[in-house]
Amino acid sequence: MRHTFYATAFGIMVLLMVGLNDTSNSNREGAALETANAEAQRPLAIVRRFRPMVQVRDSENVEWVEATVAYQLFDKDTLRTESEGYAVLQLIDNSLARVRPNSVLVIRGETNSRNGLNSRIQVESGEVNLRVEGRVSQYEVATPSAVAAVKGTEFTTRILMDGSSEFICYSGVVEVKANTSGRAQNLTRRRRAVVDPNGNNIVINTLSNQEVRRNQSEYQQLDTSSKPKVVRLRFVNAEGQMQEIEIQYFEKLQP
């Protein structure tokens, strides 16, 4: 009985191992299945949520296209929001970029060997909040006057009215570098850096907890407001027939 059992077990193990040959053949067949799709462009992000409209333009066109949920963003695509607009982008490493009203940004990048992103987000105007997930990606957020290098953190980048760039760190560490002077400063939680429009100086100060909470709650409100509200209107004609229509609308953003 014992020998029979062990012999059976050994036989099963051999059968399991035999799969090696079978698989090597399959791999060769699989290699033959490679197609032209291998060079297809890889999306870097999708539009996860927006209000009421967000527009995207790819690098080869001048036409703006209205994006929808799950709209794919590729290297060099430009995205813009209107005065009442707001968009949440989910990058393929599950990092989130939240784009506030009146913003324009260009997304650039490529996947790296760890299936993360080596990405640069160029903020042309407005404000974007970036929450980086994990440590497989490398992000840079650039403005006309500065570049912020980040890794596993949450921070906001904003172009101010005078053209200077503001960076606020909510967690982790952000390295802010002024373009012209090359000066660099590390930002930690609650630290704020402003780089002048010429990219020479960096001014650092600290936000109060109240200011941090206020900034973050604004994004929460934007998130909430990106879900349309619904009004149902009922119409009854003279014969008593009733019809209901549904209207989705976005509430106006509070200044």
Partner: protein
């Protein structure tokens, strides 16, 4: 998790209990390897005894590098016990554990049988292979779930399913991917590209959903991943967000169970809840457990606790708390009291205080005084010897109330460095329970008054005839002081942790501080100044003759104070993480007299070092573990010999990317134990030297010679080899996962003829998922053949388990389970007796010899059937019922028929 538990169930590795307990054994199911980040179920059976005689059984476990074992009580279903080890750390190297069971007759059996804490099972921990819903690689496709995240709620008007793909070979996968939602093929609705899959489902009713991503390659369909999520309304999502932000959420569980084991019933009802919430910078939580198993004769079974935290500045816990400090002092032991932690100066100054009750009092219960008369006839005269005995009732040994006060102050946030200073005091309340030590003890009067007047009168004249319980509980006093230091460098790639402590323990403080009267009884003269100092120290520690290590020694006929080195303990750990290698160095020295009553899982009297390396190769598909360890004991030269234990271990696991390749694990471990003592006994034949009961230095013994025996020689070598292979097949439109494990453990004892052990086991498990139906089946088959005491004891065990799950109703809210198993065991035991070598008056020439007349053979077959159902409703409610029946058939001489075991359990679960 279920797969892992299934693997544990399927492998049947048996080690025999030996020595004095022959009939009662722990039969263990040992996993070949476990994965980090999961809960692990360790299952075992206790055979040779019905479950009603098992008072309690527990598993003690620790992870590589830990000093102390953690205890986890095992839950029983008939003869089978399962202990759950929670959350295996990701960076742990090995799991070490042993099993202990207490029987109704007071016997303790363990596995391994000999010094289980020193010879625990060692199981390699591997990092989980790259699979799972979040991020994985199957069939040369790596992928990442983007939305919805597994187990999370999604708002009905915000639905999106998205998966990012990273095909390594740029395969044309677009036409090969299928996506199913709750079993429905929705591929046509999805947007499937070579790098991204997106799907926006329309009009999904609220409830739970399962997404399955399938990949067809070479005619074979493989489940790439599957995960579940909940669809909720925006209102409920908003409510949940609100509750997370400001209110309370949690869960409630109610369990009722009726169980009959070995003919005795054990029914209970248990309710538990836990809740948590936050408001601004305040966070709070509470938990409670009420059970009908609460018993004043035991430590608390009903438990409750609350916690409130104010940012990073203050944490207050009250109720049943589980504080941790320096691991040499306190490491998660239950305390009924408070645990506070305060931080200041950006967490660089931290203070922790713990105060409460470690043990609650359990009063002693004595039987009435029994009169025992022993009559002896000698020379025609009858002599009567009368004694009066006061003994405990069964389970009547009490426990003193034990209080703890501990504190720790640390400097540094711990991000880079932290230095901690710890102190702990544990003391029993002497007056918390009544203990009778003598006839004149006031607590004895109530029992003496129950005697007749004549008996009392006789006893007053013969006080020495009064016998009290020898196992009376004694109040203890313990202080421990320690320091710990940790350092993190280079982003945590270099970590250093050092812990040190010194302890003092008094095993009986009932007499109070050492007095001149007792010193006189001992015949030593102690300077009054020393006694005064001891008396002044009594607030901190009562020092008397019952110290586990007396700080007194006699030098030149004078007693002086000194510091014994056996009361110290320290350990240092260094880990380096570079180039995919995780290299660890550990050095420890735990003195034989080091004791912390708040952490009694620490192995004492051990020193040594461990070197380990874990690394990955071949694109993270091969995981290697290397380990070398050398330990020794007898640090205070208190033993007759020092035993060295040397371990070498190597294990490797291969998790290939391609699902068609088998996954393979192989581990080899070699252990040497040697105390450098040779066998020697001139009084017996050289051929019997390896079975001698005692070993002597002398060549002969004169009648008045006082003989000192040598330490028992020890030299044994153990090989432990394990291998496992698993592979996925697709046959008849079903996905099969087949796992085969082979294990061999061989111990060669070169000093004792009957010290060899040999275990061989094989197990096979097949898990099948039907593609077209929501059915999963399991088949597990195992066979073990184990020899102990060089073949005098043998156990063969065969097990077959067949079961399955079936999901019904919309959203798979109803799950039915069924399982049946057969476990057959056959054991042959021959007792090992002591032969007096024809000289009954001389114990020094005795030797061990098998007594073949005691050879017995028994066969035991268990048939176990179980059914269960689980129903989820209204999103947050779950009700589950399960029942099992076990039929036990014993075929042996004089074997008694045993009643069937059965249980029925209903469980309700609610999350809010």
């Amino acid at each position: 998790m279920s797969r892992l538990l299934s693997r544990c169930l399927s492998g049947l590795i048996i080690l025999l209990c030996t020595s004095t307990v022959y009939a009662q054994r722990i039969v263990h199911t040992a996993p070949l390897g476990i994965q980090s980040g999961e809960n692990v179920g360790i299952e075992y059976q206790i055979v040779g005894v019905t479950s009603e005689f098992v008072v309690e059984t527990a598993l003690f476990y620790r992870f590589q590098g830990d000093l102390a074992y953690n205890r986890v009580r095992a839950a029983s279903t008939g003869m089978t016990y399962t202990a759950m080890i929670p959350s295996v750390p990701v960076n742990a190297g090995n799991l070490e554990y042993y099993i202990v069971a207490e029987l109704a007759n007071g016997t303790l059996i363990s596995l391994p049988t000999s010094s289980p804490a020193d010879n625990p099972f060692q199981v390699t921990i591997t990092r989980p292979p790259p699979q799972g819903p979040m991020e994985t690689m199957v069939a040369n496709i790596e992928f990442r779930v983007m939305s919805p995240m597994p187990g999370t709620p999604m708002i009905d008007d915000d639905l999106l399913i998205a998966v990012a793909l990273f095909p390594q070979d740029s395969l044309a996968i677009t036409d090969s991917i299928r996506i199913r939602l709750n079993g429905m093929d929705v591929t046509d609705q999805a947007n499937i590209g070579p790098y991204l899959i997106t799907l926006i489902p329309e009009d999904l009713p609220h409830g739970q959903y399962q997404v399955e991503l399938l990949y067809r390659y070479d005619g074979v369909i493989t489940t790439v991943t599957n995960w579940t999520f909940n669809v909720v309304s925006s209102q409920s999502q908003f409510a949940m967000a609100e509750s997370r932000a400001s209110l309370v959420n949690g869960d409630f569980e109610l369990t009722a169970r009726s169980q009959s084991t070995g003919g005795s019933s054990n029914d209970f009802v248990r309710g538990s809840t836990s809740m948590r919430g936050s408001y601004g910078w305040l966070s709070y939580s509470a938990n409670g457990l009420l059970t009908s198993q609460e018993n004043t004769r035991l430590q608390p079974q009903n438990r409750f606790g609350a916690r409130i935290a104010a940012g990073n500045y203050l944490v207050l816990e009250a109720g049943h708390v589980y504080p941790a400090m320096n691991p040499l002092l306190l490491a998660g032991r239950r305390v009924y009291g408070i645990n506070t932690q305060m931080s200041a100066l950006w967490s660089t100054l931290n203070v922790q205080v713990v105060y409460g009750e470690l043990n609650r009092k359990v009063p002693t219960l004595y039987n009435p005084i029994a009169e025992l008369v022993d009559s002896t006839d000698f020379g025609g005269t009858t002599y009567r010897d009368t004694t009066y005995s006061l003994r405990f009732k069964p389970g009547g040994a009490g426990t003193h109330k034990r209080m703890i006060l501990a504190s720790r102050i640390s400097f540094g946030s711990g991000r880079y460095a932290q230095l901690g200073i710890n102190a702990l005091k544990v003391k029993d309340d002497v007056k918390s329970i009544s203990v009778v030590d003598s006839l004149f003890d006031p607590a004895a009067s109530r029992y003496i008054n129950a005697l007749s007047p004549s008996q009392r009168a006789w006893l007053e004249q013969n006080p020495l005839a009064f016998q009290v319980e020898l196992s009376n509980p004694t109040p203890q006093d313990n202080i421990v002081a320690g320091a710990d230091f940790k350092l993190n460098l280079h982003g945590g790639r270099i970590q250093l942790q050092s812990d040190g402590a010194v302890s003092a323990l008094n095993t009986n403080i009932d007499p109070g501080p050492l007095s001149q009267k007792y010193a006189d009884e001992l015949g030593v003269e102690i300077d009054q100044d020393i006694l005064d100092r001891l008396d002044r120290l009594s607030w901190l520690l009562i020092i008397n003759e019952n110290m586990s290590s007396l700080p007194l020694r006699v030098r030149n006929d004078e007693v002086e104070l000194f510091v014994p080195k056996g009361i110290f303990a320290y350990q240092n750990r260094l880990s380096l993480n570079y180039f995919k290698h995780s290299i660890g160095f550990q050095q420890r020295w735990i003195g034989p007299d080091y004791v912390s009553l708040a952490n009694n899982g620490i192995r004492r009297d051990v020193a040594g070092y461990t070197i380990s390396d874990r690394f990955r190769m071949l694109k993270n598909t091969v995981y290697m573990n290397l380990q070398f360890e050398k330990l020794w004991d007898n640090l205070g030269d208190q033993l007759a010999a020092r035993t060295y234990t040397t371990n070498y271990g190597i294990s490797t696991s291969w998790y290939p990317v391609n699902f068609r390749l088998p996954r393979i694990t192989v581990s080899i471990r070699r252990q040497f134990r040697d105390n450098n003592i040779e066998s020697r006994n001139a009084l017996i034949s050289p051929s019997l030297l390896d079975v001698a009961v005692r070993h002597l230095d002398v060549e002969s013994i004169a009648p008045d010679t006082v003989v000192a025996t040598r330490a028992t020689p020890r030299l044994n070598k153990t090989w432990q080899i394990g291998s496992g292979i698993s592979r996925q097949f697709n046959v008849f439109n079903m996905v099969h996962n087949v796992t085969l494990n082979l294990t061999s453990i061989t111990t060669d004892d070169q000093r004792f003829r009957y010290g060899d052990f040999n275990t061989r086991s094989v197990s096979l498990g097949v898990q099948t998922d039907l593609v077209d139906l929501p059915i999963r089946t399991n088949l597990n088959l195992g066979y073990t053949n184990a020899d102990a005491q060089s073949g005098l004891n043998n156990l063969k065990l065969f097990g077959l388990v067949v079961g399955g799950n079936y999901y019904l109703l919309e959203n798979r809210n109803l799950m039915l389970t069924a399982e049946t198993s057969i476990i057959s065991s056959k054991s042959i035991n021959t007792q090992l007796d002591v032969d007096d070598n024809g000289t009954p008056d001389n114990v020094y020439d005795d030797f061990y010899a098998p007594n073949f007349s005691t050879r017995d053979e028994s066969r035991n077959i268990n048939y176990i059937g179980s059914l269960g159902a689980e129903y989820r409703f209204l999103e947050r409610h779950l009700i589950a019922a399960s029942a099992s029946i076990t039929s036990i058939q014993v075929r042996a001489l004089n074997a008694l028929s045993q009643p069937n075991d059965h249980y029925f359990q209903v469980r309700y679960f609610y999350t809010f």
